[in-house]
């Protein structure tokens, strides 16, 4: 295919046929969507009725971590699987040498990274009564990680891999552990005991936020940490040029 294929508006036969099919599909789905009655009974009333017993005041958090908590648990495991997939594919392309970091950028990282961690903690705490929660807090933590990764600090290469791995599995393990404890004590998977739901949800959210943050940052790093290099590095780095 020539490089400028996308530029041409003329499509070949197969593409025209596919365009026709897509338009038919969209028209059909549009007809279906326009016939949905707008007074359909949603689940809002059911959630509002059970809100008192869920331990949190925010309905979305109640759905995420109480009513459909097994869903969220498996979803956290999916995030872990994404990291395992990326780590099994390649090593992360970390900076080769010490690159120059401008003072402006140092200032940006120094100012923004602590504020991001603070906002992440705030969002996790706020998840129990207003909007917020583990995913939002974890996303902000991941953004702080991206901020540090993108600055190419030389000490990124010396991050030990074991605490990284422990941090990655901390959230899912904690979640599964609490689920099993609930199964043991109350007989229901993730059926929190009476009165402890609020605290348990906050604990799960904090652990999951940490794990999601590390997950997103290591997905941005694009591969597993380079352990072999780190062991070679300290003797090779101090006498520069000797490794050649």
């Amino acid at each position: 295919m020539p490089k400028t294929r996308n530029r041409h508006k003329r499509l070949d036969g197969f593409q025209r046929l596919f365009l026709l099919l897509v338009v038919c599909l969209i028209t059909l789905l549009g007809c279906i969507l326009s016939t949905i009655p707008n007074s359909a009974p949603g689940l809002a009333d059911a959630v509002a009725r059970l809100q008192e017993r869920s331990g949190v005041k925010s309905p979305v958090t109640a759905v995420l971590l109480n009513f459909r908590a097994y869903d969220t648990m498996l979803e956290v495991v999916v995030l872990l699987l994404a990291v395992i997939g990326s780590w099994s594919l390649t090593k992360s392309p970390l900076p080769e040498q010490d690159t120059d970091i401008s003072p402006v950028q140092m200032g940006v990282v120094r100012l923004l990274a602590p504020v991001m961690c603070l906002v992440a903690a705030y969002l996790v705490w706020q998840g129990s009564h207003l909007a917020g929660g583990a995913f939002q807090g974890g996303a902000i933590l991941g953004a702080a990680g991206v901020l540090i990764l993108v600055s190419d600090f030389p000490w990124i290469r010396t991050i030990p891999a074991l605490p990284l791995r422990i941090g990655l599995v901390l959230g899912p393990l904690f979640f599964v552990g609490i689920a099993l404890c609930c199964l043991f004590f109350t007989g229901k998977l993730l059926g929190y005991p009476e009165g402890t739901a609020g605290w348990l949800i906050l604990l799960i959210e904090a652990a999951c936020a940490l794990s999601i943050g590390i997950t997103l940052a290591s997905l941005f790093a694009g591969g597993r940490p380079d352990n072999t290099m780190k062991k070679i590095q300290p003797p090779a780095k101090h006498p520069p040029g000797k490794s050649l």
């Binding site: 400028t4 996308n6 530029r7 925010s58 979305v60 390649t90 090593k91 392309p93 080769e96 040498q97 969002l123 207003l130 909007a131 917020g132 929660g133 995913f135 939002q136 996303a139 902000i140 991941g142 953004a143 991206v146 993108v150 997103l216 997905l219 941005f220 694009g222 380079d226 072999t228 290099m229 070679i232 090779a236 490794s243 050649l244």
Partner: protein, 106 residues
């Protein structure tokens, strides 16, 4: 007075979303498409706010507008370096021993 303004807001938001979506999928410059996608994420966060879903808006503001842009930009750079032959091609196999030997790609 508020409902006509809100309806105008909705129509403008939907049209801008469609416009951005169409152009990000059809421009031939992939960098332009990535920048359009970042803007698209920002407008999606505004749409979630308009749909009274502040939780989703928070997640989209952090992920869609904040994280996918860097993800795509760094992937774009990685692919471009492969294309220009700047990147070592045997990056994964014998990286451990000859990491210091390779010249810094510029």
């Amino acid at each position: 007075m508020i409902y006509p303004i809100l309806t105008l807001f909705d129509i403008l938001l939907a049209l801008t979303l469609l416009w951005l979506g169409w152009h990000l999928l059809s421009t031939e410059d992939i960098f332009k498409a990535v920048v359009l996608f970042i803007s698209f994420g920002l407008l999606m966060a505004l749409t979630w706010v308009r749909m009274r879903a502040p939780d989703v808006a928070l997640a989209e503001a952090a992920l869609g507008a904040g994280l996918t842009g860097p993800l795509f930009l760094s992937a774009l750079r990685r692919m471009n370096r492969v294309l220009k032959g700047e990147r070592r091609l045997d990056s994964d196999e014998n990286r451990g021993e000859d990491h210091a030997k390779n010249p810094k790609p510029t």
